[in-house]
């Protein structure tokens, strides 16, 4: 029976400040700081730690009742002092919460006062302030908001130089490492923001580090204004929230907007752009990677053809995943997101023009109960998305392929690849293997060759 639905049940999204904290983790020597209740910082730490398995310190201004009545200025200043003393950061990534936004704290004004009152002319950590009220948008908005705030705070005009800005979107540390490698192989200097490839997937420590090593240095972000171009992996990000658009408007840095490079077509598009910008042919290594991928598509195509899947997650991720699933012959019967940019269907049509004919349903602003209701009607063979779909996967006996964030119930989510020929091949292998395992499990004979 269909129920009227006002409440969100088993949300397929997280709150705005989480995304900001994640992005701030990708700036070198930066401490994320939430202006709000202690709980926001602690819950978000716990949620991120369960995926990345790394220490993630997020400071809080720790509101109390007085703060809520008289304003957060005092607590914020004290918190900034304590973080500065305890962590000696170069950068503090300050994000707001529903609490500080609703009482209307003028964070920019407070920061100006702080500088006058406490720093007495001595160097202060760079303060990057992102406005992230939890009642607006979702975690992906906080993520992009923090990246844009970092660029707006730090980017400077300079002599144009052989440098490309890369805004990779919310991808895994393994993806970030892979992107870095691609740019290195093109001998193309790259300012990638954020870069939490080391801070959220690093080695053991011989001694204590206040802030994990790694991340994009503030000095590198400053140079983003003098880059020859910015590449931004997104399909749905509004111009007003895009760091690449801001750099173009402010400093004339050419903006190249691409969907996330998942699948051969979208990865080809990315590599062609790199060839154009670098004026170099694609390194042979990637010709090989592409050839191996095409070969794998051929070897595995029959197992997966016409298999029905539901894919869910952030809008940009599901758009590129859908394009990939279509090029390998699978049918994403439902493309779903908890996000709501208003662009999902329109942008999906650009990549998958036969959306309607192929019977692909698109829904934004949904929760997992909505997706489960759809699953009962659409009877997909598989689910593809983050680990929060496990509840409905188990209940309805539909296998789940875990991708993206968060992955709380499997090991190594931070090391999964999604992007490029390499990431696509990893996804393809995993999808085919899921089908094979199911065939084997369901078989009465238990074939040992498949």
């Amino acid at each position: 029976m269909k129920h009227a639905k006002t409440a969100t049940q088993n949300a397929c999204k997280l709150c705005n400040p989480l995304g900001a904290c994640l992005a701030f983790r990708g700036i070198e020597n930066c401490v994320p700081f939430l202006h709000g209740s202690q709980g926001c910082a602690t819950y978000i730490r716990r949620y991120l730690i369960s995926h990345y398995k790394e220490p993630i310190d997020i400071a809080s201004s720790n509101f109390n009742e007085d703060t809520a009545v008289f304003g957060g200025s005092r607590n914020l200043k004290l918190g900034l002092q304590n973080v500065t003393q305890q962590y000696r950061p170069e950068v503090i990534g300050l994000a707001t919460t529903c609490l500080s936004e609703t009482i209307g704290d003028d964070v920019k004004g407070i920061l100006r006062e702080y500088k006058k009152e406490f720093m007495n002319g001595s160097p202060m950590p760079v303060m990057i302030h992102a406005s992230t009220p939890s009642y607006q948008g979702s975690h992906i908005d906080g993520f992009h908001g923090a990246v844009r705030a970092a660029v707006e705070t730090l980017a400077e005009q300079g002599t144009p130089q052989q440098l490309v800005n890369l805004f990779p979107n919310m991808v895994s540390p393994a993806d970030l490492r892979h992107l870095r490698e691609i740019f290195d192989d093109f001998s193309l200097p790259c300012m990638m923001l954020p870069d939490y490839s080391k801070t959220l997937d690093g080695g053991p420590w011989a001694e204590y580090h206040r802030i994990p090593p790694g991340g994009t240095p503030a000095s590198a972000i400053s140079l983003s204004g003098s880059a020859i171009g910015s590449i931004e992996f997104t399909s749905t990000l509004a111009d007003a929230k895009s760091p690449a658009v801001w750099l173009e408007e402010k400093f004339g840095v050419t903006r190249y907007q691409l969907p996330m490079p998942i699948g051969i077509r979208e990865t080809d598009r990315f590599f062609s752009l790199l060839e154009t910008i670098s004026q170099k042919p694609q390194p042979e290594k990637y010709d090989d990677e592409r050839r191996r991928l095409v070969d794998a598509y051929a070897d595995g195509h029959k197992y997966i053809f016409d298999k029905k899947v539901i894919v869910y997650g952030e809008e940009d991720l599901v758009i590129s995943m859908t394009a990939f699933l279509r090029e390998i012959g699978m049918v994403p019967v439902l493309v779903a997101s908890g996000g709501k940019s208003g662009q999902l269907k329109k942008k999906l049509l650009e990549l998958v023009p036969d959306l309607e004919e192929a019977g692909i349903k698109v829904r934004d602003g949904v929760d997992f109960v909505d997706i489960e209701d759809e699953a009962k009607l659409l009877t997909p063979d598989f689910l593809i998305g983050n680990s929060k779909g496990y509840t409905m996967s188990r209940k309805n006996s539909i296998p789940l392929l875990r991708i993206g964030f968060p992955i709380h119930d499997r090991f190594g989510g931070q090391r999964l690849h999604h992007l490029g020929y390499r990431g696509t091949l990893e996804l393809f292998d995993r999808i085919v293997n899921m089908v094979l395992q199911q065939r084997q499990d369901d078989s009465e004979i238990g074939y040992t060759y498949l």
Binding site: H3, D57, Q86, P204, A206, E207
Partner: protein
């Protein structure tokens, strides 16, 4: 190696036992210091953890999406029946709701969810923003209760209005509204309620079985494997047995005052405390010596099985040093005893929410040189683990990566655990888990241990 500095304002919450601890003074039960990166959560968290295991109630979080999303299926509290507590419900407030108020959305959500899931009761959690926009959630709850005929209980857990302990209190106030509304005809005078046991990995079932073997009726567990109807008749029990004293003592006190039910504090961790819990309960039923006889029988038979099993672990772990940082201080007492029974010493003992009496007791128990810390943070914990050269950290999800980064073994003694650590079998599991982590060969590659290269 560089000396790690402690924030000046934090110094009074840290104590190192010297000269027998004569000059003991520790500050606690305060709000966390801004910018210190406390491991604590908030008032909402306190309420949420206490009420979470009530499995046939609807738990609706009134606020923006985060608070509900981060607490979805967060605890290992298992249920023997309904599992409504494992779903996540939020009014998911948007900007317009913040401007115009969220009462209508709350009302509609409640009516729809109660119709869809038929819960036995509903708990409505206020989050930070509700304390600002001034929704009258009490009025909405009264209205919905009247229309649906089930208890609809507001939980005043606005995150910023105090600490996690205030959240415990808010949860107990809501529970107290349920207690006393059920029939008590079938309750024996030899009966008790288990308070502060959240049935992580089925721990409440282990404890319940001991009491039942002793011939005592367990009326309700609050709140592990909790049921609304059992809570409603909890006032019919003769005794409240309180574990996790930080969260549930206030409910026990309220029930003592209103219904004259005495309470005792116990712990179910470690052989010593587990045995004491059974004996202490049996002592309160002096007219039934068979209850004490049964308690003795249980302890004897369990210890006879367990003791030889522990010797292998003890042989391996003797002389190793442990650091403890957990939510409630009461748990640290049991952990210290349990670690000692394995031949281990404790070099750091801390908690998020201990009170001065807890820390005084802790000081008495601890060895010379032990650090006692209230409301600590990752920087301090790392500093003490390194300075004291700990071999093991006992903590929760947020402490785990600190240990692993530094090449230190770890035992999860928090809400996510999947292995029961309570009861006699729990002591075996605890020893096994500590053994498996401390003795793992992987630490040889940790830089602190030489790294082998």
């Amino acid at each position: 190696m560089e000396q790690i500095q402690i924030l000046k304002e934090r110094e009074k919450q840290i104590f190192e036992k010297k000269d027998g601890g004569a000059a003991f003074d520790i500050s606690c039960e305060t709000t966390s210091l801004s910018g210190s990166v406390s491991q604590r959560a908030c008032v909402f968290c306190g309420s949420r953890v206490v009420l979470y295991p009530v499995a046939d109630a609807l738990h609706l979080v009134h606020g923006p999406i985060g608070c509900a999303a981060y607490t979805w299926d967060i605890r290992g509290s298992v249920s023997s029946g309904p599992e409504l507590h494992r779903l996540s419900f939020s009014t998911d407030l948007q900007e317009t709701d913040v401007i115009f108020g969220g009462e209508k959305k709350l009302y509609a959500s409640l009516i729809e969810l109660i119709e869809q899931y038929s819960p036995k009761a509903a708990f409505i959690y206020s989050t930070c923003i509700i304390g600002l926009i001034g929704d009258d959630i009490d009025a909405v709850c009264r209205k919905v209760a009247k229309e649906t005929g089930i208890p609809v209980l507001p939980v005043h857990s606005e995150g910023f209005k105090g600490t996690k302990k205030d959240g415990y209190r808010a949860a107990c106030i809501s529970l107290m509204k349920l207690v006393g509304t059920g029939e008590t005809d079938d309750i024996s005078p030899y009966s008790l309620n288990i308070l502060g046991e959240f049935n992580l990995a089925g721990e409440a079932w282990i404890i319940r079985e001991y009491y039942e073997k002793m011939g005592i009726q367990v009326v309700s567990t609050l709140t592990g494997d909790g049921r609304v109807d059992a809570i409603r008749k909890a006032h019919g029990a003769s005794l409240n047995v309180v574990q996790c004293s930080g969260s549930m003592t206030s409910l026990a006190k309220d029930m003592e005052e209103k219904y004259g039910i005495p309470f005792i504090r116990v712990s179910y961790f470690g052989i010593e405390d587990m045995a004491s819990a059974l004996y202490d309960v049996a002592k309160l039923f002096p007219d039934r010596p068979d209850i004490m006889d049964k308690a003795r029988e249980i302890v004897k038979s369990e210890v006879e099985t367990l003791y030889p099993q522990l010797q292998k672990f003890k042989a391996a772990l003797s002389g190793k040093k442990a650091a403890i940082y957990v939510g409630g201080a009461f748990k640290t007492f049991s952990l210290i005893k349990a670690l000692r029974s394995l031949g281990m010493s404790v070099v750091l003992a801390g908690s998020q929410t201990g009170n001065s009496e807890d820390y005084r007791n802790l000081k008495e128990m601890c060895d010379e040189g032990t650090i006692i810390v209230d409301d600590s943070n990752p920087v301090e914990l790392s500093k003490f683990i390194l300075e004291k050269d700990a071999d093991l950290l006992i903590g929760g999800v947020k402490e785990r990566p600190i240990a692993f980064k530094l090449g230190v073994a770890f035992c999860d003694h928090n809400h996510e655990r999947k292995i029961p650590l309570a009861g006699f079998i729990g002591m075996y599991n605890f020893a096994l888990e500590v053994y498996q982590s401390v003795m793992s060969p992987v630490w040889q590659f940790a830089p602190r241990k030489g790294g082998l290269k």
